[in-house]
């Protein structure tokens, strides 16, 4: 049994099949990348797996349990969470608070305790604070802890979003273009971070346009085109697959499979 199993997943918007009959699986510690030309349905697929969209066919299973119709906050509590292509950061909160929010499930207790600042609530808050500081160290943002998140650079926000997701101790982590808009140094930092996370046993689903990065760190690649899976396999086999090359070149896209983005 796989940790995450996606089968026959599909959704249509109006007459358009944005994603159709896509399936794959992921094991703990595995990095599965989903690639394809723009508009291939990668983010839509992510939105279905993470509960943002309700698919109209197919199943998502976590530990063999059907979680297809589960809302995002329920999935999060079961250990599946994600980051976003267009950052979703709490801009008006500090960097540290952004990560503490990630501990919401373990931190939250009774409302009354929170309102009256009872010792139990304070202890929980302190524990979450200490753990959040550890995570900030891990993504090297500990020096910016007390700054407003809105003041951070783009690359730093990408790492902050990952730190927040890690706070939930996920078993499956969906990263939607974690390196988009980052410079070479930042990309490499994120690259290392992802490899490290996989090593710690988290199954990682990655959507990324930086093909060098994808080829370097993925264990398994799923290729989408026009909402359908056209190939799947190891980085080497996928990069040599004629259908994949045709999809990338035929789409009139300037990116090619092994060129940098």
């Amino acid at each position: 049994m796989s940790l995450l199993e996606v089968s026959g997943l599909g959704i249509g918007f109006g007459g358009l099949r944005a994603v159709d009959n896509v399936g794959f699986s992921a094991q703990p510690g595995e990095i599965v990348s989903i690639i394809g030309p723009n508009g291939a349905g990668k983010t839509t697929l992510f939105n279905m797996i993470s509960g943002v969209y309700l698919p109209d066919s197919g199943h998502v299973r976590l530990d063999g349990k059907d979680v297809t119709a589960a809302e995002p906050h329920r999935l999060a509590r079961m250990g599946l969470t994600r980051t976003f292509q267009n950052l979703q950061i709490f801009q008006e909160m500090t960097v540290l608070e952004n990560v503490i929010v990630g501990f919401h499930q373990s931190e939250s207790g009774s409302l009354i305790a929170d309102l009256l600042a009872l010792p139990a609530a304070r202890r929980r808050a302190q524990a979450a604070r200490a753990q959040a500081q550890e995570l900030l160290k891990r993504v090297r943002l500990d020096k910016a802890a007390e700054e407003l998140a809105g003041n951070l650079s783009y690359g730093a926000l990408k790492r902050l979003e990952i730190a927040r997701a890690l706070a939930m101790q996920p078993r499956v982590l969906l990263l939607d273009e974690p390196a988009a808009g980052c410079n070479a140094v930042e990309t490499e930092e994120i690259d290392h971070l992802i490899a490290e996370l996989a090593k710690s046993g988290i199954a990682i689903l990655l959507v990324e346009h930086d093909m060098k990065m994808v080829m370097r760190i993925s264990n398994h690649i799923v290729v989408l085109d026009h909402g359908e899976k056209i190939a799947e396999g190891s980085p080497e086999s996928v990069s040599k697959n004629p259908a994949v090359i045709a999809a990338y070149l035929g789409a009139g896209d300037e990116e090619s499979v092994d060129a940098d983005s």
Binding site: F90, E92, V101, D114, L116, A125
Partner: protein, 318 residues
């Protein structure tokens, strides 16, 4: 560091409340002060709803009305002492907020504003039209609190103005303390998170609907208690307490003072309660000047008085 900031804010407020009477030219100002504190309490509740959780309500006077009329009706019909009537009003407000909050908090922005507006109008209409029970638009008398007599028995002789000044101040301080606790707690942080991004809040496991409802219910209880205190100190209550203008006044106080900050809300209440008294020198132009002041504040200090000034001071300090 954050912890001390909470106690500093509370201490500053308490000192201000204690020192102010030294400058009162007459006993009348105790009443103005009490009014500021009661408004401050209601507006602090709105800061939780609007400033923390990012949800608007244009109908919170409805809950103030329920609190006010609970103190008029429960002693007369149920024989409940006024102090327990405050509690009864708060419980009814909380239950009602839960009941109507569930469906209407699915709405956003303007739609939520209109739905809450409808709720407020509904309450004030019921209070106006149920003449047999509420006395209709003429309102009804409210019994005083027995507490003042008890204090007198202990040799602590307070005028009605002084008594209500102290009691309202205490109520407001407790309300501020709770709101500041919430701000730093897991629940408050989750509320602020969903304010920032509902999508992201969901992905970290926050039950957005539940938290919005909690904020709505808490702020309803604040408004209800404030309404009760208002009715008790006036010893009279009319349907105006639940009226549209009262709802708008509360939101305006919150926004003017700075809706993200509890102390800002209190400042906003103080200014909007005091200004009309000060502006009487402008006679018939009073409303005009009041409107002008509000427009200028929103143009030059768009985040509200206190947060904008604090940001400016901080910027200069660095």
């Amino acid at each position: 560091m954050k912890l001390s900031s909470k106690w500093m804010q509370l201490a500053a407020l308490a000192v201000l409340v204690a020192v102010l009477p030294l400058f009162f030219p007459s006993g009348y100002y105790y009443r103005v002060g009490a009014l500021i504190f009661v408004n401050g309490l209601a507006v602090t509740g709105l800061v939780i709803l609007i400033g923390y959780a990012g949800q608007i309500s244009l109908g919170h006077a409805g809950f103030a009305g329920i609190g006010g009329y609970a103190c008029a009706l429960a002693p007369a019909h149920l024989g409940l002492p006024p102090s327990l009537s405050i509690l009864l009003g708060a419980v009814i407000s909380a239950l009602l907020a839960m009941l109507i909050g569930k469906p209407i908090l699915r709405l956003r922005g303007y739609y939520l504003a209109v739905a809450t507006l409808g709720f407020g109008i509904l309450v004030s209409m019921v209070l106006t039209n149920e003449r047999a029970l509420t006395g209709g638009p003429d309102g009804m008398a409210v019994q005083g609190l027995a507490l003042r007599k008890i204090l007198r028995g202990w040799g602590w002789k307070l005028t009605s103005g002084e008594f209500w000044y102290i009691l309202s101040a205490l109520a407001m301080l407790v309300g501020v303390w709770i709101a500041l606790n919430l701000f730093q707690s897991a629940t408050g942080r989750a509320m602020r998170a969903l304010h920032g991004s509902e999508v992201a809040a969901r992905t970290v496991g926050i039950d957005v609907a539940r938290l919005k409802l909690q904020a709505f219910v808490i702020s309803a209880v604040y408004a209800s208690v404030a309404g009760s205190l208002l009715a008790l100190q006036n010893q009279f209550v009319t349907p105006d307490i639940a009226g549209f203008m009262h709802s708008i006044e509360m939101v305006t106080m919150a926004v003017l003072g700075g809706v993200g900050s509890v102390l800002g809300a209190v400042t906003g209440s103080a200014i909007l309660t005091l200004l009309p008294q000060v502006l009487t020198v402008f006679a018939e132009y009073e409303q005009l000047v009041l409107g002008l002041v509000m427009i200028l504040v929103m143009i030059f200090l768009p985040r509200g008085l206190l947060p904008s000034i604090a940001a400016k001071l901080k910027g200069r300090g660095e």
